[in-house]
């Protein structure tokens, strides 16, 4: 409580947003650098958090608590557990890449007026989103979380609707129409989810009388706060619905392809790699923490939905004609894995799910940003318009391939670790589910390789022939991501050490223990012993 590190971490990008927005219209580049600067400062703070955080220590650390709205029993309570730390890290890490990748995405068109300052707006909004995402990863007060969970929709909405692809199939009005359709769809889906959650939040308030996650969880554990079974289930559903829309879980997913398809690649990354993570994160922290019994009650259905997401998402991805939509459906499939891991209720599953959030963020970022570079070159999102790119732009193709391999979770790249953990974790409790889920790894290979084959290999298309290879800025964006993917793939320990304790807490919230192996092998950990 000495130095409000968490508040500052969230405040820095917010301040940055305001300053960036204030930059005069002419000084566009200044705005960009300012935004980048602030995002890097945030990254530094996030690293500081990770350093200050002791994995062995209390469940929530660096906590802050101030009174806020006493009449609603709302307090301004912040605190991070391992899961929060890594996700804050992910967010703070990706934003600079998003900004750098979107460097030219928001340069104003000629037709716009003097006072219209899209560039400033674009970067300001990105920072605003970052601030809100970070604080919702930090909030340990349900109301506080809800506020930002909802509020972040607005800047996202403007990012999607206001800054579509320049490179868009079809006429400009048509593009604008599709774009605002996507934006509205995104907002309404999430708003409806959020409002239904609001009803549940109110219900929780009526039942519990305050919003402090720690107090309620403690009270639940101690049995001093007992909810009627049905109440708990209804509240759980209210919360889960909102998170499932955000995540997104089948059949609430259809906003994602539109949103990712119409928005620029960096924004698409922002959506799927950062904002959507709040949904899965909230499932882990709030659904399980507040409503353990209801969570267990709902598990079968949720597992089935997650399975559908995995298989369905992958299959539909195979059938896409549009690169970005394909990636979107791939993400839907991956979110299926994450949710599967969370509700498998095993430490492997949940650690895996948490790692998955990070790794999916990285891999999608890599793949999507490269795809964005590709699209910006050719001016089309249609897979059919490409072919033989590897001949003319080998580096681009190579990075694209690595991104793809990460997406199909090849061993040695980070996603493999998380995906396998999720599968093992699920299998340990629900063998059949686990086996069906493994089909996902084949399908993932299918859509990734199909995408790569159709765009990068084969005879060189005329329009592609003059395509330049990655520029320095672009390489600088992609290279670190790839490095991270490999690094976390061969040495994921850095994350698991932080995450595991938090997961243990979550497991104890839901009063679950890992299923014991049939045969207890003494020499199990003999290797480390040596």
């Amino acid at each position: 409580m000495d130095f409000p590190l968490l508040t500052v971490t969230a405040a820095v990008p917010a301040v940055g947003a305001i300053l960036t927005a204030a930059v005069p219209a002419a000084r566009r580049t200044a705005a960009k650098w300012l935004a980048l600067l602030f995002s890097l400062a945030t990254l530094a703070l996030a690293v500081l958090i990770a350093v200050r955080f002791e994995p062995g220590g209390d469940r929530y650390q660096l906590t802050e608590s101030r009174s806020w709205i006493a009449d609603f029993g709302v307090r301004y309570e912040l605190g991070v557990d391992g899961i929060g730390v890594v996700l804050i890290g992910l967010t703070a890490l990706l934003i600079p890449f998003v900004i750098a990748a979107g460097w030219h995405d928001a340069d104003p068109l000629e037709t716009s007026s003097k006072r219209w300052r899209p560039t400033q707006g674009f970067f300001a909004l990105i920072l605003m989103v970052e601030a809100m995402v970070i604080i919702s990863f930090e909030a340990t007060d349900v109301f506080l979380f809800y506020i930002f969970f909802e509020a972040m929709l607005i800047p996202m909405y403007f990012l999607i609707g206001g800054f579509g692809d320049r490179a868009h199939a079809g006429s400009d009005e048509n593009a604008a129409a599709q774009r605002s359709y996507a934006a509205v769809k995104f907002l309404l889906y999430n708003l409806v989810g959020g409002l239904i959650m609001l009803a549940a939040v109110i219900g929780l308030y009526v039942v519990a009388g305050n919003f402090s996650l720690q107090e309620i969880t403690a009270a639940r554990a101690a049995g001093t706060l007992d909810m009627a079974t049905n109440t708990e289930r209804l509240l759980f559903l209210g919360f889960f619905f909102a998170f499932a829309v955000k995540a997104p879980l089948w059949p609430l997913h259809t906003w994602l392809p539109n949103a990712m398809g119409e928005s620029t690649a960096p924004v698409a990354v922002l959506i799927t790699a950062v904002v959507d993570k709040v949904g899965t994160f909230a499932m882990l922290r709030f659904c399980l923490g507040l409503f353990p019994d209801a969570s267990k009650w709902a598990t079968p259905v949720i597992l089935v939905l997650a399975l559908i997401s995995i298989v369905y998402g992958a299959l539909v991805a195979v059938g896409q004609r549009d690169i970005k939509r394909l990636v979107a459906y791939a993400s839907i499939s991956h979110f299926g894995f994450i949710i599967l891991g969370i509700f498998a209720m095993t430490s492997q599953g949940q650690s895996g799910a948490t790692l998955y959030m990070v790794n999916h963020g990285l891999s999608t970022a890599a793949l999507m940003l490269v795809a964005g570079f590709l699209i910006s070159r050719r001016g089309s999102r249609l897979i059919a318009d490409y072919g033989g790119v590897q001949k003319v732009a080998p580096v681009l193709a190579g990075t694209f391939l690595i991104g793809g391999l990460a997406t199909l979770s090849l061993p040695g790249l980070a996603p493999f670790v998380s995906e396998f953990l999720v599968l093992v974790g699920t299998f340990a409790r629900y063998p059949v589910v686990g086996i069906i889920a493994t089909i996902g790894i084949v399908l993932a290979a299918l859509y990734t390789l199909v995408l790569y084959q159709r765009t990068m290999t084969g005879p060189v298309k005329e329009e592609v022939r003059t395509m330049p290879d990655l520029r320095l800025r672009e390489v600088l964006v992609v290279a670190p991501l790839i490095a991270l993917l490999i690094g976390l793939g061969v040495y994921p320990k850095v994350l698991t050490d932080i995450v595991n304790p938090a997961v243990e807490h979550t497991m104890s919230d839901v009063k679950q223990t890992d299923p014991k192996p049939e045969v207890a092998v003494e020499a199990k950990n003999g290797e480390e012993a040596k």
Binding site: K391, Q453, K493
Partner: protein, 631 residues
């Protein structure tokens, strides 16, 4: 000493990284770096081998634990290696033959502007394969396993501008993925059963669980093996994989990739020994593939495809042997090694032929090449004799052992398997002789290639012929060397165990029978292709021939059922997603809009109608209040 193990992998891996990230500036030197690092790896292997020979049989296992890879509660995966005789064998084979193929490629890929990348991929391939055989737990093995898959994907699809190549690469990777499913499920089963998936503890605990569970694990491992080793039903990728440059085929077929399956099964001996049913399935798969490959091999006119068929069938032998349990493990590996020599030799020879014939692959357009490329002819010939099991050459010993072992299985199984292996030997003799005759004997049937260049065959450069020669030596003497004094048996037995089984017939009889089959096969082949001229355009051929040409329609089956079906499925799902899932949402929105449109008609602008609604409202209000009281 054990700290060297990591270097085995590190060297080629380093090469791969350097070559792939190095950029154009390495184009000049790239291939040398690659070859060098492969050789380094081989050198270290030899050092370690020498060291291992220096120890007594029971202290030959070295382990090296780098760090804990994935630690989550009970789930502990280590980045740890284990080097025992079995791994050693593979290390030498992989790095040795691998290096030779590197050398060969220097010449073969000379005119390809992406040669640097090619060598990068080759190094990656070697590294992944070494990781596979050195891992001390199944998850790490899985790492190498998929790494091999990736490398094969990159190499098969090396000529990406050819759509066929890209497709073949994709196919190989996907089919392998299906196998990988098996491996990952097997790992999960081990984890839930034993709480670990490291070799030593798992094999130690085998006794403590049910046979059913072990059978399940065994079958899953077999599925994995089928994927990598191109066994029925996952063999379809192997033929297409010939789209890759010939050295790649050599590497895949001789040293890396397809041998992984055999390694997996032999490595998991403990599991299989305890699961007879699984073993039976393994032998069946092996037997079926053995014949399948052989039959396919008989009908192909593409020299590489024919050799591919033969590989399939030879691997079939090994799998079958591995399925026999302690009787067969050693011989499976032994055949694997000898096969590594002669198959590599054969492929390099084929490559050399193609090199001389403007990359023509159709054997019907070869003929009478023996005089034009003598070295190739001789080395290829020796490889040929080795594979058909000509007495004294390596193939003879290793294959003979497997056939004996098959009989030694005992009972009707023994007879059936033995019969199959014998038959296989015969067919092998037939199709290899066919290849030989079509390529090197008979009259010239050369055709100008697409751009009208008349082929004028010539011997390949030294960088290509030298490896061929070395390999030829291997294929001639390896078998004898292993067999004399049962060196190989003594070497491997501590790891895999060995039992004689109960051969119903004496070794001599088996050998004699094999000889007979061999002669029959060669005879028929000579009768068909040696005596009468060979048509340049393949005759329609019998039903079986046509079936064999199309891989016994197994691929068509895949195409119709999986590919077509899959396409339909995805298309319909896309439709569902758009019209149903999304339709519901848009529908609700639209209906709200419609309702709104209808409701706003009520607001018709006439003050009196507003008054009416007020009046009505009041009436209802009063009525409701009274009603509340009434009820």
């Amino acid at each position: 000493m054990e700290n060297l193990i990591a270097l085995l992998i590190a060297a080629p891996l380093f090469g791969a990284v350097v070559l792939l990230c190095g950029g154009r500036r390495l184009d000049k030197t790239g291939h040398w770096i690659g070859t060098l690092l492969a050789a380094v790896s081989f050198g270290i292997g030899v050092v370690l081998f020498a060291d291992m020979l220096g120890r007594s049989a029971d202290e030959r296992t070295l382990t090296q634990n780098l760090y804990t890879w994935i630690p989550v509660e009970g789930f502990q995966a280590d980045m740890a290696f284990q080097l025992d005789q079995l791994s050693m064998t593979f290390v030498l084979l992989i790095s040795g033959v691998g290096t030779l193929i590197h050398v060969y490629s220097i010449g073969y890929m000379e005119h390809d502007e992406r040669r640097r990348r090619f060598f990068g991929y080759l190094n990656l391939f070697v590294a992944a394969m070494l990781l596979l055989v050195l891992a001390d737990n199944y998850l790490l093995l899985y790492f190498g396993w998929e790494g091999v898959g990736l490398a094969s994907y990159l190499l098969i699809g090396f000529w990406q501008h050819k759509p066929s190549a890209a497709t073949a690469a994709k196919k190989a990777f996907l089919v392998n993925r299906v196998g990988d499913m098996g491996l990952s499920i097997a790992i999960m089963l081990m984890f839930t059963t034993f709480g670990t998936f490291a070799f030593t503890p798992v094999f130690g605990a085998v006794g403590e669980t049910s046979e059913g569970m072990l059978t399940a694990i065994g079958l899953m491992l077999l599925l994995a093996a089928c994927g990598k080793s191109a066994q029925v039903p996952l063999q379809s990728w192997l033929g297409d994989a010939m789209e890759g440059p010939t050295p790649v085929s050599a590497l895949i077929h001789a040293a890396t990739m397809v041998t992984a399956g055999v390694y997996l099964i032999v490595r998991s001996a403990a599991v299989f020994n305890a699961a007879p049913d699984a073993q039976l399935v393994v032998t069946v798969v092996g037997a079926v593939t053995l014949l399948f490959g052989a039959i396919v091999g008989c009908a192909k006119d593409d020299i590489k495809k024919a050799l591919a068929g033969s590989t399939m069938s030879q691997i079939g032998y090994m799998i079958l042997a591995a399925g026999l349990g302690p009787i067969g493990y050693v011989f499976a590996i032994m055949h694997l090694v000898t096969h590594g020599f002669f198959k590599a030799g054969l492929f390099l020879g084929a490559g050399s032929v193609m090199h001389g014939m403007n990359d023509e692959v159709d054997m019907r357009k070869y003929g009478a090449l023996r005089t034009y490329m003598p070295v190739t002819f001789v080395t290829f010939g020796l490889g040929y004799l080795a594979i058909i099991g000509f007495p004294g050459l390596s193939g003879f010993f290793s294959k003979d052992m497997i056939i004996e072992a098959a009989f030694a299985k005992g009972g009707t199984e023994g007879w059936i398997l033995g019969g199959v292996t014998l038959l296989g030997a015969g067919i092998t003799a037939f199709y290899m002789t066919r290849v030989m005759l079509l390529t090197f004997f008979g009259e010239k049937r050369w055709q100008p290639d697409a751009d009208g260049h008349e082929p004028h065959p010539h011997e390949s450069p030294k960088s290509m012929t030298i490896p061929m020669v070395i390999l030829a030596f291997g294929s001639v003497f390896a078998g004898a060397f292993f067999e004399i004094g049962e060196r190989f048996l003594k070497w491997l037995e501590p790891v895999t165990g060995y039992s004689h089984g109960n051969p119903p017939v004496s070794a001599m009889t088996v050998t004699a029978a094999t000889m007979v089959m061999l002669l029959v096969g060669v005879g028929i082949a000579w009768a068909m292709y040696g005596r009468r001229p060979v048509p340049v355009v393949a005759p329609r051929g019998s039903l079986l021939t046509r079936a064999a040409r199309r891989d016994l329609y197994q691929d068509d089956f895949n195409h119709v059922v999986l590919v077509r079906g899959g396409e339909h499925l995805t298309r319909s799902l896309v439709y569902v997603d758009h019209s149903l899932v999304d339709g519901v949402v848009n529908g609700t929105a639209a209906s709200v809009g419609g309702l709104s449109g209808r409701l706003r008609k009520l607001q018709n602008g006439y003050a009196r109608s507003y008054a009416v609604s007020m009046f009505g409202g009041t009436a209802i209000l009063i009525a409701a209040t009274l009603l509340m009281r009434a009820v």
